[in-house]
Symmetry: C2
Subunit: 461 residues, 2 copies
């Protein structure tokens, strides 16, 4: 018999990992709810025509396609078959695929339910997505996204809420992060300076290498690529990264003559309004206005957000990129025929956040507690009595197990210890008669005799 295995890029989550994941998911979800976001879920299976063409050519390659049921070759074209034309055959034999992200399904959901939704529509969604990417460390073929979006509202205060959500979640997780912020309209203003938006994309790609090749390296590349005014624009952008307040950066933008246009004023006005709200909120984490942040240039139309960890408890050799991102997109539902619904959203990269919190050892130990107490019956006839005691503990909300047989005490206690339980209550014939139990603290080893009614109060968390 074959040894059973998992498909490459997929994972099982055992109890220890699941309890940690549930702690993260609970923290994110409770924050979403506190901000008035409501849950939706969409199916894993989507029609391929809903998904295809929405994620670029590369995205289309990474879609998982589901084979039609039954005699799927009946309608296949003979020539396509003979040519072994996989690409040509695929649309003839697969109508459905697996969800690739949560954003396109959101757009489809809103278009299909537009009459039932009251806008602004604040929804969150936490579900797995699938991508046929090459698996590598930290990259999986089945992984979770946790998204919150507001649809149908232009107000910049939505961005304030989303930034505040990031701040709340990472504060609660006790992980220091930097929230990077930019505005697409500011980048557009630079596009003018660079003599055309066609140069902007290339420019942003080159300056994105600054972390690796430094200021001079980027300057050389800009020169080599002959980006008009590239070095001037880069010199200015780099100077703003040394400024320590958003106000100073906005002021520098106002003074930079080469980028004055209505795009710039629109971006500055939006950010000024945003900071007037955020100033009231006293965020725990650093919010950095970073004019070099591009992130989805073809997609976002207003604010752009990215979260990077900046906690010095993360081991130095633990390299990881962003753990969250988002922004405003004005035309999301247009792909399904519904115009003029502006949207803004953020996403949490659950799997990466997990890896970082784990590496910095920030999971609280109480997130991992499973059963609180094991009731050990010393002979078969005591088992019904043990269940009666378990029932009263469970009614008080205490997670309780009865060892299912009257096995040797050592075996029962080994099981309790392996499962990380705090307590064991031992009931033999004598205890049953007297209404007492031997209560053992499995952490300290102490034990005492205590009345069965008194246990609940004694061990209640």
């Amino acid at each position: 018999m074959d040894k059973p295995s998992l498909p490459s890029g997929t994972r099982d989550f055992g109890p220890d990992v699941m309890m940690r994941r549930k702690y993260l998911i609970g923290c994110i979800e409770n924050t979403f709810k506190r901000y008035g976001f409501l849950p939706i879920e969409t199916p894993a299976l989507e029609n391929l025509r809903t998904l295809q063409g929405k994620y670029g050519d590369e995205g289309d390659q990474l879609l998982f396609k589901v084979l039609n049921n039954g005699d799927f070759l009946a309608k296949a074209d003979e020539k396509t078959l003979l040519n072994r034309d996989s690409k040509g055959l695929s649309p003839l034999i697969a109508d459905r695929g697996l969800r690739y992200d949560l954003t396109v399904p959101l757009a489809r959901f809103v278009v299909m339910n537009r009459d039932k939704i009251s806008f602004p529509f604040r929804r969150y969604q936490m579900q797995p997505v699938w991508r046929a990417d090459r698996p590598q460390k930290g990259r999986y073929r089945e992984f979770w996204q946790c998204d919150a979006d507001v649809l149908g509202s232009n107000g910049i205060s939505n961005e304030a809420d989303l930034i505040s959500i990031y701040d709340d979640v990472f504060s609660e997780l006790d992980l220091k992060v930097t929230i990077r912020l930019n505005h697409r309209r500011l980048l557009d203003a630079f596009g003018n300076w660079l003599q055309g938006t066609q140069n902007l994309g290339r420019f942003m790609q080159l300056i994105d290498k600054a972390d690796k090749i430094g200021f001079d390296g980027v300057s050389q590349e800009l020169k080599a690529n002959e980006i008009p005014n590239g070095i001037e624009a880069w010199t200015f952008l780099h100077s703003t990264s040394q400024m320590n307040s958003p106000a100073a950066i906005l002021e520098a933008l106002q003074k930079q003559e080469s980028i004055q246009n209505e795009h710039l004023q629109e971006g500055i006005a939006a950010l000024t309004a945003l900071f007037s709200i955020l100033d009231k909120l006293k965020l725990n984490n650093k919010l950095q206005l970073d004019l070099t942040l591009a992130r989805g240039l073809s997609y976002y139309t207003g604010c752009v957000l990215e979260v990077v960890p900046s906690d010095d408890r993360i081991p130095a050799d633990f390299k990881i990129g962003s753990i969250g991102g988002g922004g405003r997109y004005d035309n999301l539902t247009e792909i399904f025929g519904l115009k003029d619904v502006s949207g803004v959203g953020i996403s949490f990269g659950l799997d990466r956040i997990y890896d970082i919190i784990e590496s910095a050892q920030l999971f609280p130990t109480n997130a991992l507690e499973s059963t609180t107490i094991l009731i050990c019956a010393m002979d078969e006839t005591t088992i019904p009595h043990a269940f009666s005691l378990a029932q009263s503990l469970r009614k008080a909300g205490i997670a309780t197990e009865v060892y299912p047989t009257a096995a040797k005490l050592k075996k029962q206690l080994d099981y309790a210890n392996a499962k990380g339980m705090h307590w064991a209550a031992i009931i033999g014939d004598q205890e049953m008669q007297s209404g007492m139990v031997t209560l053992k603290n499995l952490q300290s080893g102490d034990q005492q005799t205590i009345g069965q009614q008194a246990i609940t109060e004694y061990i209640k968390p």
Copy 2:
């Protein structure tokens, strides 16, 4: 542009439905945890060789298969292609499929992690599964299962726990159910009477029709099918269904000479031990020892369980079958090469439970509350102040929204009402100066002026 649509048999869940589903899931999950069950999750994608051959021929037909990525036809056999042999081509172009249930993945998980698991292994799992069934009312292609299983323990007290879980969950949901129970060994004893287990399956199928065709109808069918001693066995079984205590039924079994053998004694001993525990627990719902219950004859080896709704608040025309089931299976992990791991488990049919609770109008209204309070700013300059107030309410755990623009008050209140909020706090220029807000109860229409610090205490749930 195509109107977007969903694949047949799949569903979106909007906020109203999601909040109800989360209420059900939370209730089931909290109960699992109170009994010491720990969560696991397995991937949606499994290797097809893990799934195939595990659910019978019909099950194999219903598996969703995922097309291999890239040039999937490269290795396909030319003859298979030319013959348009879908069945032959399928294994050449699809290595993976979608999870069909949670039981086979559990077996695979246990075999792959046997060295890390401390037995008895009490796990729960709540995830969607996929079946390419013909969609119809109450039957979907993507639906949820909620399972709890104990692996590696023979003790009948595990069955007591699982029955108690059923009782707890449906008590908490305020839905009256009947828990039907049988034991495979008792059925085996009947197999002898029917002159061979090969007749038992046919016999059970025929008596399963009793609901529709009555006692006489079944008798006629048994005669027509020439089941040896079928009518005698059926007459006896039917008589036990009139008895109102398990003890009376067990006594009748002891007295029925035609079925005396070691199987019968084994079954009776197990059930006697089980009832000695359950008698201590005083279940809220009816537990019915039902000797006609077959449910997975080829699969279960000990106790067999089924839950049917019996609540008179369910509309009479609302027909639905079982909403849960389970039992003991001795050889689950053997399919993956690990012998002698006995298991026992139960499953909750989430989608059917949802439909029933909805039909009987048993969803508590507080399960549906979304945001508690909307803060309405009357002009743009007040918005930062509104956010500051929102922050303090959220810190107190109150779900709060700020309307994202200074729209007309009516528009803001319409939004709050559409979302079912309880309260609106209105802040204009005057209120901002004075530190007061106008607090409006959206249910009663009452409003009052109140200090901003005092709101939290006033509206706290």
